[in-house]
């Protein structure tokens, strides 16, 4: 049986671990609230943008030679996969899930004989992917310094993407991130950024009304599509941030509970062995007295 001193030390260490996980849970709960608010307030812009673009896109359909960001390069040989993960660990299966989904996609693409390149956002995913695909990883964006995600944090990334696209570095770009459903569930979602994809259902019915375009449709699309990439990316990153906090909160909650269980069982063992030691001592004293 472990001695009393050891047990006492273990109880103390588990108690302090519990305090830490409890504090982390509290912190991520408040961060989650903020992240959720940010994700919600970004929604109107992204939705409007999507509405306008999808109605523009549907009116352009059938015409050849639309902007490349919408129509694609007519090829899908060069694939770019963006993996957005968190900058910090201790958030349950959050990063693992995203990386797993991304890896499955990358493997499938490679098996199809495509040229795959990878861009990572967030160092947790980058570390894992580096083990297997270090030769395919072309760029990494670090958001460690970002406390509160602003549009200006996403803009440089999307600018870089468009630059690379125009240079012909890739044909299709897919972003992997975790969509925030609720605190307990986050769903890893692949989102095709380039060429832009729209749900036909989302396009607003213009009620037969004809829009005037100023300047013409093509120029508006040329201007809006790059912006749309930025908006989609920004929105995905916001969702990702909320998911990260949600995931961390659940993970820390169960860690706190586990620590509680552990303390209980340790305390029982401690009390038992303390009891045993006392009994032993008594027996020794009594038998000593009897021997006299």
């Amino acid at each position: 049986m472990a001695n009393l001193k050891d047990l006492r030390n273990r109880i103390a260490s588990v108690t302090s671990t519990q305090k830490i996980t409890k504090a982390m849970k509290m912190v991520s709960a408040s961060k989650l609230k903020r992240a959720q608010e940010a994700a919600e307030s970004a929604r109107p812009y992204a939705e409007r943008m999507e509405n306008v673009l999808s109605s523009l896109a549907s009116s352009m359909k059938g015409q050849s030679g639309g902007p490349k960001l919408l129509a694609g390069t007519g090829n899908d040989q060069k694939q770019l996969v963006i993996v957005a993960t968190s900058e910090r660990g201790l958030c349950g299966g959050f990063n693992t899930n995203i990386v797993k989904a991304a890896k499955a996609k990358i493997k499938a693409l490679i098996n199809d004989g495509k040229d795959v390149t990878i861009i990572t956002i967030g160092k947790k995913g980058a570390g894992v992917l580096k083990r297997e695909y270090s030769d395919r990883m072309v760029e990494h964006f670090d958001l460690t310094h970002v406390k509160r995600l602003q549009f200006s944090d996403a803009a440089p990334i999307s600018a870089r993407l468009i630059e690379k696209f125009e240079a012909g570095d890739f044909d299709v770009c897919t972003l992997f991130f975790a969509k925030f459903i609720n605190v307990l569930t986050q769903k890893v979602t692949p989102l095709q950024l380039i060429p832009a994809s729209f749900d036909a259902e989302n396009s607003v019915d213009l009620g037969g009304a004809c829009y005037d375009y100023e300047p013409d449709e093509n120029e508006i699309l040329e201007e809006l599509l790059p912006r749309n990439v930025g908006v989609q990316l920004f929105r995905a990153l916001l969702e990702n941030a909320a998911s990260e906090q949600g995931s961390r909160m659940t993970a820390m909650d169960s860690a706190t509970r586990n620590a509680g269980d552990m303390i209980d069982s340790l305390r029982t063992t401690y009390n038992r062995s303390r009891q045993a030691v006392i009994t032993n001592e008594l027996i020794e004293i009594i038998s000593g007295a009897e021997a006299l």
């Binding site: 970004a42 109107p44 306008v52 549009f151 004809c210 100023e214 300047p215 809006l224 912006r227 930025g230």
Partner: protein, 136 residues
């Protein structure tokens, strides 16, 4: 509702404004245009400039950078990357930023960073020009 125009101003971060007004003057790429209630549907891109919001209490001016405007049966929606009431714009902050960016242009080692810094600088310059014009 026909006598009022529903106006919404949205930035990527949040919905800045959603109200009923009399008229809005929008700085389109091909020229300013006023939007009154029951305006015909239009989609237009914006240049850096001033939006004027007219309602009973007077004219409110906001500065916008980049974006587009959409008019439909429901009203006017402006999506802008940056939008700020003119009264809240801090001129000195922009001047300081301009100085920084000038230095960036000077220090740029390759064409790419230079082009990027110049673009950012030009944007600040156009904002300052607009502020000058408004102040005059």
């Amino acid at each position: 509702m026909a006598d009022k125009l529903h106006f919404e101003l949205v930035s990527p971060a949040k919905l800045l404004k959603s109200e009923d007004v009399d008229m809005v003057v929008v700085p389109g790429t091909e020229g300013d245009f006023g939007v009154l209630p029951l305006h015909a549907p239009v989609v237009s891109t914006l240049r850096t400039g001033i939006i004027e919001v007219h309602n009973e209490s007077g004219i409110e001016k906001l500065i916008v950078v980049g974006g587009f405007a959409e008019v439909n049966a429901e009203g006017l929606t402006i999506l802008a990357e940056i939008a700020k009431p003119l009264s809240e714009v801090d001129r000195t902050a922009y001047e300081a930023e301009l100085k920084d960016l000038e230095e960036d242009v000077q220090d740029a080692k390759d064409d790419e960073t230079k082009a990027r810094a110049e673009k950012a600088r030009d944007q600040i310059i156009s904002i300052l020009e607009i502020l000058d014009r408004e102040a005059a």
